[in-house]
């Protein structure tokens, strides 16, 4: 009798534990890849058809639930999260719906990644017009921030979008293009998911081409005139990417750059057009690890990166492959630290003065662990309501290693706000997918 009693009590407690655990699971804590904003959600939902997503939106409306929308969650400021909301995970909604190689267009569901599209169109010798430097992002997430990349002849992503369908809060679906619901076209692209769920998108494609690397070292003072005369004015250059040193030995003075020129012999494209997979990342990962630790690590990282890049001069690469750069070597898993990004846009002719000011400001911030600055170009494009490219600008992406504690976030914020003020003082602007360090929009 006693034994049975003990056994039953135990089973009851066991059942209680399981129920409590399930309750905990059903209000999951989610965070984006910035790891600074864990948020307790009501639940995570997804759908693979229009009907399922529509149902989800309608039910949420009835129950007065809030919805947040998530792609790969590489945005770092909680744009995909909202306390106690239902997070709609768009990743399973990722089919390729139609493809027209003749007209060079493709229609995909918004959870598809650039990688999905590249694999699909590469055999037809077609390529995307605008993507980030990496291909890990979803189409919906990219449209919602209106991304830009290395291509200097096509600019922000909005330029390459023909139309999309939008599921709005009432549960109905709108067709949106430059002709239909035009106002929504320019606010949803770059609208951070605030207007509804982007369902499927029709994008313009271009031909896959063979490019040849041209590499060069320059001083930051010469960069803007070099870029204007030798890069922009030379219509053979299709893409461009530069780095400016964050190593103490050459802090914000030395730069090296890569131009992607149309290769003279396009018939050789076939030898280069199989899509590359992740290359061996142990070495870059190791050197980036050194850079995180101290000044001499940063010097080593810079020298190795520069030497390696300079050696690639003359190498050939297909357009598709140049739009699928590695990022796995940047993956960083640390219990109390994370890596965040910032991106600032400054007008081309302000560049050198801006860098001088930035240098004198950052030299005083000894504890600010800046690991890398990449420089790219965006041409003026104000089609999107929330546009960052108010004129022809250089875009500086900064990679920052920082702590996750409240104190560390405050310290980083102090430095970043100074950088933002400085950027604005040079008629610049800043990019919104990153952590909400700016004090206002």
């Amino acid at each position: 009798m006693k034994k049975i009693f003990v056994l039953i009590s135990y089973l009851v407690i066991f059942a209680l534990s399981v129920t409590a655990y399930q309750a905990k699971l059903s209000s999951p804590i989610a965070e984006d890849k910035g790891h600074l904003l864990p948020v307790a959600l009501k639940s995570i939902a997804s759908g693979t058809t229009d009907q399922e997503l529509q149902q989800l939106v309608k039910t949420a409306g009835k129950n007065d639930d809030k919805l947040s929308i998530a792609g790969m969650q590489h945005s770092q400021g909680g744009q995909t999260l909202y306390p106690d909301a239902i997070m709609v995970d768009m990743k399973p909604y990722n089919k390729i719906l139609s493809f027209n190689p003749g007209q060079k267009t493709i229609t995909v569901q918004s959870g598809a990644t650039w990688d999905d599209i590249q694999k699909y169109i590469n055999p037809y010798h077609l390529a995307l017009k605008v993507t980030q430097s990496q291909n890990i992002f979803t189409v919906g997430g990219s449209l919602s921030v209106n991304v830009h990349g290395r291509d200097i002849r096509h600019h922000a992503l909005i330029e390459t979008v023909q139309s999309f369908r939008l599921l709005i809060a009432e549960g109905s679906i709108l067709q949106v293009s430059r002709q239909e619901n035009q106002e929504l076209f320019t606010s949803v692209i770059g609208g951070y998911g605030l207007f509804g769920i982007i369902l499927d998108v029709t994008l313009e494609l271009t031909d896959d081409k063979l490019y040849q690397y041209e590499t060069k070292e320059v001083n930051y003072r010469e960069y803007d005139s070099y870029f204007t005369k030798e890069v922009l004015a030379n219509d053979q250059v299709k893409m461009h990417l530069a780095r400016i040193s964050v190593a103490p030995e050459s802090f914000l003075t030395d730069m090296y750059l890569t131009n992607y020129l149309l290769a003279p012999d396009q018939t050789r494209l076939e030898d280069y057009d199989s899509l590359k997979r992740d290359s061996i990342i142990a070495l870059p990962k190791f050197f980036l690890g050194l850079a995180r630790i101290n000044d001499s690590g940063k010097n080593t990282f810079w020298n190795i990166q520069r030497t390696y890049t300079m050696k690639t001069d003359g190498k050939l690469i297909s357009r598709n492959n140049s739009m699928r750069s590695d990022s796995t070597f940047m993956d960083y898993d640390h219990a109390s630290k994370t890596e965040t990004l910032q991106e600032y846009f400054v007008p081309v002719n302000e560049f050198a003065d801006y860098i001088d000011d930035l240098r004198s400001m950052l030299e005083k911030e000894k504890d600010f662990n800046l690991l890398n600055i990449t420089v790219r170009y965006v041409e003026k494009n104000e089609e999107a309501v929330m546009s960052y490219a108010k004129e022809d600008m250089f875009a500086l992406v900064m990679l920052i290693n920082q702590g996750t504690s409240k104190k560390a976030v405050k310290e980083t914020e102090a430095v970043i706000q100074k950088m933002i003020d400085l950027t604005l003082a040079h008629q610049g602007s800043y990019y919104l997918p990153y952590y909400s360090y700016p004090s206002s929009l």
Binding site: I13, S17, A20, Y21, A335, S336, T404
Partner: protein, 141 residues
């Protein structure tokens, strides 16, 4: 308790704990947000174990090891139900302290059990031989 039962008991406990161990480490690591907290959680376990060991040793003589082993098994069975629910580091610390006490209970009683059985089985053998063997084993653990 006879020898067969004892081996069965030890075997089951041993198997269960080694199956749980990897997950247990993961729980500790995920709850703490830095490695120092992970270390403290582990330290607390060892410390309480060490502090309670002598007390439990004396208790064991009075209560008997069968009861203690029973207490250990049931208490562990209950404690483990709380692990999935842990959210804060202090909860981990609390559980670690309780696990520390229970660890001492188990180690103490198993040794006492074995000792009693050995004495029964080989009355002729000198006790201090067995004792030093056991002491050595304790130190190795």
């Amino acid at each position: 308790m006879n020898y067969r039962r004892f081996v069965l008991y030890q075997g089951t406990i041993g198997m269960a704990s080694s199956m749980i161990f990897p997950f247990y480490i993961l729980v500790l690591k995920n709850t703490g947000n830095n490695y120092a907290q992970f270390g403290w959680a582990y330290g607390l376990f060892a410390l309480t174990s060490a502090l309670t060991y002598p007390v439990i040793g004396r208790l064991a003589d009075q209560i008997g090891d069968k009861v203690l082993l029973l207490v250990y098994s049931w208490a562990m069975a209950l404690l483990l139900l709380f692990f999935p629910l842990v959210e804060e580091v202090w909860q981990v610390y609390l559980l670690q302290i309780m696990m520390g006490v229970l660890g001492a209970v188990q180690k103490n009683s198993e040794k006492r059990c074995l000792l009693v059985m050995l004495i029964k089985e080989r009355p002729g053998k000198k006790l201090d031989n067995i004792m030093s063997g056991l002491l050595l084993e304790r130190q190795l653990q």
